[in-house]
């Protein structure tokens, strides 16, 4: 294995919860609570998990748009969390982010040229050159360069997302953190943007950290997938392996809950419907985070937090009783006689 482009080590981001007249801190939201992962150059790593499990917070903490509480982020081996303001500015050119909301992520008062060239201007490129580059980028993301003097509201959701991508590309980054870049788009348009991301990755040798809650999209685009649950990593695996034989009970349930557009398959599928809701990240369960909904949970799960450990080459899982390849949750529950 080569040197990873990005390494995240036991990263934690906790938000204080304030209450009362004096706004004193009464607790913490454990949004990201000890996440470790690594990303190889030119790889696409998908991050999936349900709403509130900390995906956005993780992405932003890596870029220090939110200051993490503890842990380490290393870019090409260099410490990012401890980087000086000066160095951070330089690093930002290498790591860019694309946001979910195509409406909130573009300043409505700025023409598209200015939006795309802003990162360049921040980094000292002169106006004419920045604008020329912006027009090139518009072309690269499949928009017409002459539309650069228009305002965001004149574009559709999919087109706006292309603009957001062009902006992220402007500094020639290596790493792109894509935070649900297609979630807000219609199906037919979503595929256009996914293909665009595919093409751009080849063209510019990009590394993607692709955050999404839609497992179908993540499977399509990722080489490896990180499944998150309540601020922690439940499982990491190659995307084919994860779909073929998920080892964590949560991954398994998650996959079985995704509907497929095939009536016969839908009818015959074994579906595991998890009971209960996601616990609150301000008061996470002791031991395994998943134990309140896990059909396999036993006492040990409440007492001891499972560490992420490798169960097969390239597949790591944080569970005391991981599923073996080929074994389903239903087999296991049956065998246990629950």
């Amino acid at each position: 294995m080569n040197a990873p482009l990005l390494e995240v080590d036991d990263l934690k981001t906790h938000f204080p919860i304030r209450a009362g007249l004096l706004r004193s801190v009464v607790g913490h939201v454990h949004a990201v609570d000890g996440v470790s992962l690594s990303v190889q150059p030119k790889e696409t790593v998908g991050i999936v998990g349900e709403s509130g499990c900390g995906k956005t917070t993780l992405g932003r903490s890596i870029l220090r748009l939110i200051e993490p509480t503890s842990g380490a982020v290393r870019y090409r081996g260099e410490d990012v969390i401890g980087a000086s303001a000066q160095r951070m500015q330089e690093l930002r050119a290498e790591m860019q982010i694309v946001f979910q909301d195509p409406y909130a992520s573009l300043n409505p008062r700025m023409p598209v040229d200015d939006i795309i060239s802003e990162p360049l201007r921040v980094h000292g490129t002169d106006k004419g050159e920045a604008r020329a580059k912006a027009r090139e980028l518009l072309d690269a993301v499949g928009l017409l360069p002459e539309h650069g003097n228009r305002y965001p509201h004149e574009f559709s959701g999919g087109q706006r997302q292309r603009i957001g991508i062009a902006r992220a590309l402007s500094l020639n980054p290596n790493l792109m953190i894509l935070d649900e870049p297609v979630s807000a788009l219609d199906v037919s348009v979503q595929a256009q943007v996914i293909n665009l991301l595919d093409d751009l990755q080849d063209e510019f040798d990009l590394t993607y950290l692709f955050i999404a809650h839609d497992l179908s999209v993540v499977r399509h685009i990722s080489d490896r997938i990180v499944v998150m649950y309540l601020g922690r990593v439940a499982e990491v695996a190659d995307s084919a392996a994860l779909y073929d034989h998920p080892a964590h009970p949560y991954s398994h349930a998650l996959l079985s809950a995704v509907p497929v557009p095939d009536p016969d398959l839908e009818r015959d599928r074994e579906r595991i419907v998890l009971q209960g809701d996601l616990p609150s990240p301000s008061d996470p369960p002791s031991g395994c985070r998943f134990r309140t909904r896990c059909p396999l949970a036993v006492e040990r799960c409440a007492e001891e937090m499972p560490e992420l450990r490798e169960v097969a080459p390239g597949q790591a899982v944080a569970c005391h009783f991981p599923l073996a390849p080929g074994e389903t949750l239903i087999d296991r529950v049956g065998a246990l006689g629950v």
Partner: protein, 307 residues
């Protein structure tokens, strides 16, 4: 374009989605679009013309009036409108047309100067305190609270005594106590704007706080600021006349529209024109500023499309 449509499965060339969407090829310049949007507001055009005419009248008019604003003429005192004195005269026989023009000069100056100054202070304070949470915010909040506790009039009076009641000082003083509302509005907006993803995007690009405030926050605040300017212009005229009425404002023989209204009040039954004329001028000024503000808000908003 067509070859892409006929061959959609090839997938290789990225088609220009702009064309499919039907965006016109040409686009007018930003300034031109803003002017188009401004022009749609007929009342704003009227307001601009009225305000321009008033300004010309206030500053050029006095040269054509045969009486000075301070010229006392006991024989002609307390007269109604006539050929000689189109607006009549006051209790000292001063020509009310001359005085209205003089007063208009001061009132307009105070209104515009105060509104712009107070809004600017409010913008800076509000933006800074909203963007930087913590110490800075706390400090500004403290100033705001102190100002809220001190009775505005007392403060004005004290400052007025100290620095003399010239129109510009008056404007500065009124601005110094009336930026608070603007600051609060701005702070609230900034608190929500700074969480917008486009601000996060700018931060991700390495932009510093002042660049972000300047390029992303301020342009999105223009709408509420313009409303604030128009409101403040009215408030300033009224505040100033209250002060003048308490003889803390502009000192006689100088005058303002507010003072003229106050003086006319006692004879409202006999000679309503003494209130109606300066009152009408005040109304015209405030309405014009309002209409212009409205149109400008639209003009700076690219979303209010041109039909």
């Amino acid at each position: 374009m067509t070859d892409v449509l006929e061959n959609p499965t090839s997938g290789s060339p990225v088609p220009s989605v702009g064309e499919a969407e039907g965006l016109a090829e040409k686009s007018e310049s930003v300034g031109r679009q803003a002017w188009e949007r401004f022009r749609r507001h007929k009342l704003a055009i009227v307001g601009t013309v009225v305000l321009a005419l008033l300004a010309v009248a206030f500053w050029v008019g006095p040269f054509f009036v045969s009486y000075g604003y301070e010229e006392v003429n006991i024989i002609d005192r307390a007269q109604g409108p006539s050929w000689d004195h189109p607006f009549g005269t006051d209790d000292l026989g001063r020509d009310l047309l001359a005085r209205a023009l003089r007063g208009g000069q001061f009132s307009l100056r105070i209104a515009i100067f105060t509104a712009v100054l107070a809004t600017s202070i409010g913008l800076v304070m509000g933006a800074v305190s909203g963007y930087f949470a913590g110490v800075v915010d706390g400090g500004i909040n403290f100033i705001v609270n102190v100002l809220l506790v001190l009775p505005a009039l007392v403060l004005l009076a004290l400052l007025g005594r100290e620095f003399g009641a010239r129109p510009n000082t008056m404007a500065v003083i009124i601005a110094l106590i009336s930026w608070i509302r603007a600051a609060r509005l701005v702070r609230g907006q900034v608190l929500s704007l700074k969480e917008m993803e486009y601000v996060q995007a700018a931060r991700a690009a390495g932009a510093g706080p002042f660049r972000i405030i300047r390029t992303h926050l301020v342009p999105n605040l223009v709408g509420i600021l313009l409303v604030e300017v128009t409101l403040l212009a009215g408030t300033a005229i009224i505040l100033e006349s209250t002060l003048s009425f308490l003889s803390l404002g502009v000192q006689p023989p100088d005058t303002t529209l507010g003072t003229l209204i106050a003086e006319g009040k006692s004879t409202l039954d006999v000679r309503p024109s003494r209130v109606l004329i300066p009152g009408g001028l005040v109304t015209a000024i405030i309405l014009s500023i309002n209409f212009i503000g409205d149109a400008m808000r639209d003009a700076v908003d690219p979303k209010s499309g041109i039909e």
